[in-house]
Amino acid sequence: MAATLKDATAIVGIGQTPFARQLDASEKTLACRAIVAALDDAGIHPSEVDAFASYTMEETAEVEIAKAIGAGDVTFFSQVGYGGGGSCATIAHLALAVSTGQATVGVAWRSRKRGSGPRPWRNTRTQLPTPGQWTRPYGLLRPADEIAMLARRYMHEYGATRDHLFNVALACRNRANQNPAAMMYERPLTREMYMGSRWISEPLCLFDNCLETDGALACVVVSAQRARDCRHRPVYVHAAAQGLPSQHHGMVNYWTDDPLTGPSWTAARHLWKHADFGPQHVDVAQIYDAFTPLIPLSLEGYGFCRRGEGAAFSEGGALEIGGRLPINTAGGGLSEAYVHGFNLINEGVRQLRGSSTAQVPDATTCLVTAGEGVPTSALLLRS
């Protein structure tokens, strides 16, 4: 039998710092705190860590982390590009390394001071010539503007409305209201607040945008065999995928034959091909939500509904607890914290441990996705 990733590894530890608009500690310190907490959660000593994975946008290098936490000899390290598109791929890379014997204890992390730090789009000095030359002179400056352009087209083609986007924002907010660690805990959202809020980039308003957060998270990945000896019920990496579609252009994906078919479609085809179950057997999903329109686009891409039906899928409380597909059960990037999607991974683990603050009863399978609209990645987790 050919080597397979399927259930060969498991996430056995999760850790995180508090989430806030502004934290005093440095990104490096926050990263170390989250990693040490994740290792403690797993019951594994830092000296056993021999693999690291993070994002290319991560500002603390492995050498700094490794020496600070007291890691042993490290034999695998990787970074994944494309911002939030890399979240699930960090776990996937560790799963590949551990399942092929390149390492035994892997740590993935993301630490970010986006709340107190500068807004990346304000940088006029280092604008990337490609594709910035085709967009920024015209005032298409921010990620919100870039996604709003696709959102407007999506609404036009499929009759999606702001109420559909509100359904997404509300589901995330309702779950955050149950999660004391969420930035929007005890801050309910109403339709009146949503419809009356200020525009960021029409057709997207304030509540269609993710939070600005300081914080860090980490996960520990080991072999399935080792996982049985750890403190918590193992959460197996059942399938993993990265997705860079043919002729894809990133956030400004206006130059393909079909701009509304994003990277989630590519990742999904690979994911389901390698899984023992399909979308209809997913109990709970953590779907990357830097912006509300990414949810309907992802629901279509990952096969929970057909093309053009993602917005309508959100009707009737489908995304809430008890609905067809509860999503972002800790509040997601919209209402828990925006740490480039890593909080979605930790929440996926909590759901399959049965320890979420918005637990889906008897959840045994969870889809976690990374940023749609950029080269992406995804995980199917199972208990």
Partner: protein
């Protein structure tokens, strides 16, 4: 140093920072011509420009003149916070235009009332997906001209 190399005017709008592949587009734009890169082998147009044809892998390309006509494919209206030269005009429009010559070639731009008019010079009620538009050019800085779009039926 010319302003196009700096990438920004002092307090004005961001200027295009061309890469090697995009430079011809901006050189033609400076002469008031809207051209797109096409494969010299199989004649397929492609955007953004790149060194190699993704269809036939030819490295030879030519820059085909377009009719300068198109339709609005989508649009947004950015509101602050924005960089100062854009915040001053906000909310303004940014549109994506699909070219009449080849609807798969889409260009980001602005719909304006006249070539040199402000980015908020068109009544937002006139913004409509599918509206026919025609290209015009405006000078952002000395020697730097960018395409703008006018409603075909103002």
């Amino acid at each position: 140093m010319s302003s196009i190399m700096k990438g920004t005017t002092d307090n004005g709008p961001l200027l295009p920072v061309p890469d090697e592949d995009g430079a011809p587009f901006w050189e033609f734009a400076a002469r008031g011509e809207l051209r797109v890169q096409c494969c010299a082998g199989c004649h397929e147009p492609r955007f953004p420009p790149r060194p190699c044809c993704p269809r036939c892998q030819s490295f030879d390309s030519e820059w085909r003149v377009t009719s300068g006509r198109g339709r609005i494919w989508s649009f947004v209206r950015p509101h602050p916070p924005l960089l100062p030269p854009y915040a001053e005009q906000a909310p303004y429009n940014v549109i994506v235009v699909e070219l009449a010559d080849d609807p798969r070639i889409r260009l980001v731009g602005n719909l304006v009332a006249a070539p040199d008019a402000a980015l908020d010079s068109v009544d937002p009620a006139r913004l409509r997906i599918g509206a026919p538009v025609v290209v015009a050019f405006t000078e952002l800085a000395e020697g730097v001209r960018v395409p703008r779009w006018l409603l075909e039926r103002p």
